[in-house]
């Protein structure tokens, strides 16, 4: 007899492949989809206001927590710049860490109760409060909730490591949201070398101001696209393909390719190859804290569903980038179809509308040219451009 042990996810180096001639077109559409996935300015501002209000309440000088010098900072997608606009009944959220000091000797439930009781002491918050395994949740009216994670620093490890109470197991769990964010941005920078610092200081650290989609790292967009397909594929399903799992796997398998679609294809190849080795549920370790297993909620059934989601995603994207000879003869519509299935029909249609309007703008400015094979491209104004015309007819 042997014991089957859960094993850490193995990385298989994927084969380098030829970049699809369609990747430019797909990149343009994916970039336009990502712009539409961003939270609206109102949604963002609203979340920030609520974050500041809750942060202020927790760290207020009159709060019983004040002597523990609470440090409030965001974690998760809001910090990583990987939020996606809520869709249907799905909410968007903000995760907030309420880190107390000189408290790691206390029993975990004491810390949880301190934070919980402080929130419950607020008239408005008390009515919105929900106790969860590792956090206190505030359910706002509308499509937003905030998870407050009570925490104490893990001074033995340092470097942003914290311990958080687990109500089910009544014990401390180790994690490191700051370290995870630093790791994620390190992966992002495989693409570029410019310094974009993540600010983490003060008692209520600001949530990073919204970066317009076009200035985001490819990896941030890859994670957004993975989350978007998750939301459509599972109609929710955030317990199967948790954001932190998608973010970790995205970061692990991203190789810094210039083209967004090629990079996403590479990430899906990488994940798929790694999952193929594991018939049993693997561990998905926190890259900065290997003893934390992000997949600890997976059983065989959930794992199979996750594999199916990755498989479907990968097949869909491949059919766009590397169509069969038969599909190739169907042209753009055969690419737009699977793209809509992956990321949403409205968003893809809007992307094509923008493609057309950019083409028209260049056409009106005399910047379009046509190559020997009919390939439409842009030229410097005036240089052998297509003369103006009006398509006639009904």
């Amino acid at each position: 007899m042997f014991v089957v042990r859960t094993t850490t996810l193995l990385i298989v180096e994927p084969e380098r492949k030829i970049v699809s001639p369609r990747s430019n077109w797909v990149d343009r559409q994916l970039n336009r989809v990502c712009v539409q996935l961003e939270l609206t300015a109102t949604q963002y501002k609203d979340a920030e206001q609520k974050y500041r209000a809750v942060g202020g309440w927790l760290s207020d000088i009159g709060s019983p927590l004040a002597i523990y010098e609470p440090e409030i900072y965001p974690q998760g997608s809001m910090l990583l710049g990987t939020t996606v606009r809520p869709q249907g009944r799905i909410e968007y959220d903000l995760d907030l860490v309420c880190q107390l000091h000189w408290c790691a000797n206390q029993p975990p439930m004491t810390i949880y109760d301190w934070v919980h009781d402080r929130i419950a002491g607020h008239e408005t918050y008390a009515a919105m409060l929900e106790k969860l395994k590792r956090c206190v949740r505030l359910n706002y009216a509308g499509d937003f909730h905030m998870d407050i994670l009570p925490a104490c620093p893990n001074d033995q490890i340092g470097n942003g490591s914290i311990v958080v109470p687990d109500c089910k197991l009544v014990c401390w769990m180790h994690t490191n949201p700051k370290g995870f964010a630093a790791w994620f941005f390190e992966q992002c920078r495989r693409q570029e070398s410019d310094e974009r610092r993540v600010m983490l200081k003060d008692s209520v650290a600001p949530i990073p101001s919204p970066v317009p989609s076009e200035f985001k790292y490819s990896l941030q967009r890859i994670v957004q696209l993975m989350k978007r397909h998750r939301d459509l594929y599972f109609h929710g399903g955030r317990d199967i393909a948790r954001s932190v799992i998608l973010t970790t796997l995205g970061g692990m398998f991203y190789r810094g390719e210039r083209s967004l679609s090629t990079a996403l294809d590479g990430v899906l190849d990488g994940i798929s190859a790694a999952l193929a080795i594991h018939t049993q549920v693997p561990r998905i370790e926190n890259p900065v804290h290997p003893s934390e297993n992000f997949a600890d909620t997976w059983d065989q059934e959930k794992y199979e569903k996750f594999k199916a989601y990755i498989g479907n995603f990968r097949r869909g994207l491949k059919s766009v980038l590397y169509p069969s000879a038969q599909d190739e003869q169907r042209g753009l519509e055969k690419s737009a179809g699977p793209l809509s299935e992956l990321f949403g029909e409205t968003e893809v249609k809007e992307a094509i509308r923008i493609e057309a309007s950019e083409m028209n703008r260049n056409r009106n400015q005399g910047k379009l040219s046509v190559g020997a094979t009919g390939l439409i491209g842009t030229v410097r104004s005036g240089a052998a451009s297509i003369p103006p015309n009006n398509f006639f007819g009904r």
Binding site: P21, R22, N24, W25, V26, E328, Q329, R330, G331, L332, E333, S335, A336, G337, K349, I352, R353, E355, A356, S357, M359, N360, R363, L368, S369, V370, A372, T373, G374, L375, I376, A384, I386, P387, N389, N390, F391, F392, G393, R394
Partner: protein, 143 residues
Amino acid sequence: MIRIKTLGVRDQAAWVRCCFPTFQCTIDGGFLVCRGTLQPDPVNRVYAVEIHYRAGQWPKAFVPGNQLEPLVPEGKIPHTYGPTEPCLFYPSRSSWRSDMKLAHTVIPWLALWLAFYEMWRATGEWYGGGITHGESNEIEPAA
């Protein structure tokens, strides 16, 4: 009155072959037929196309066979004269004159039309703009 110097079909054919080397041109009794392929973007399909032209008449562009398809059976494809003939320009001397090169006008317009046609196939919307039949009845004779 502005005099224009009509470009002969031989010159037109030479320009087409020069700009679009894959095109084959034949002239029969002053009637020019250019056959070739166009692919506006790698994501688009490769279309076999034909240009028909007789000096002094309006040039015509065709996408023969059943390469073009309406969205529903028997449906209409926007900006076409018939199931295989896109309308590339408003027939007036301000759009096209016989001193213009097919290679610099009609063929690039056809590539553009095909790009918009595929977007229409995918979205049901015609984004290419243009003039709808009947908006102006003044169709000028060919230059």
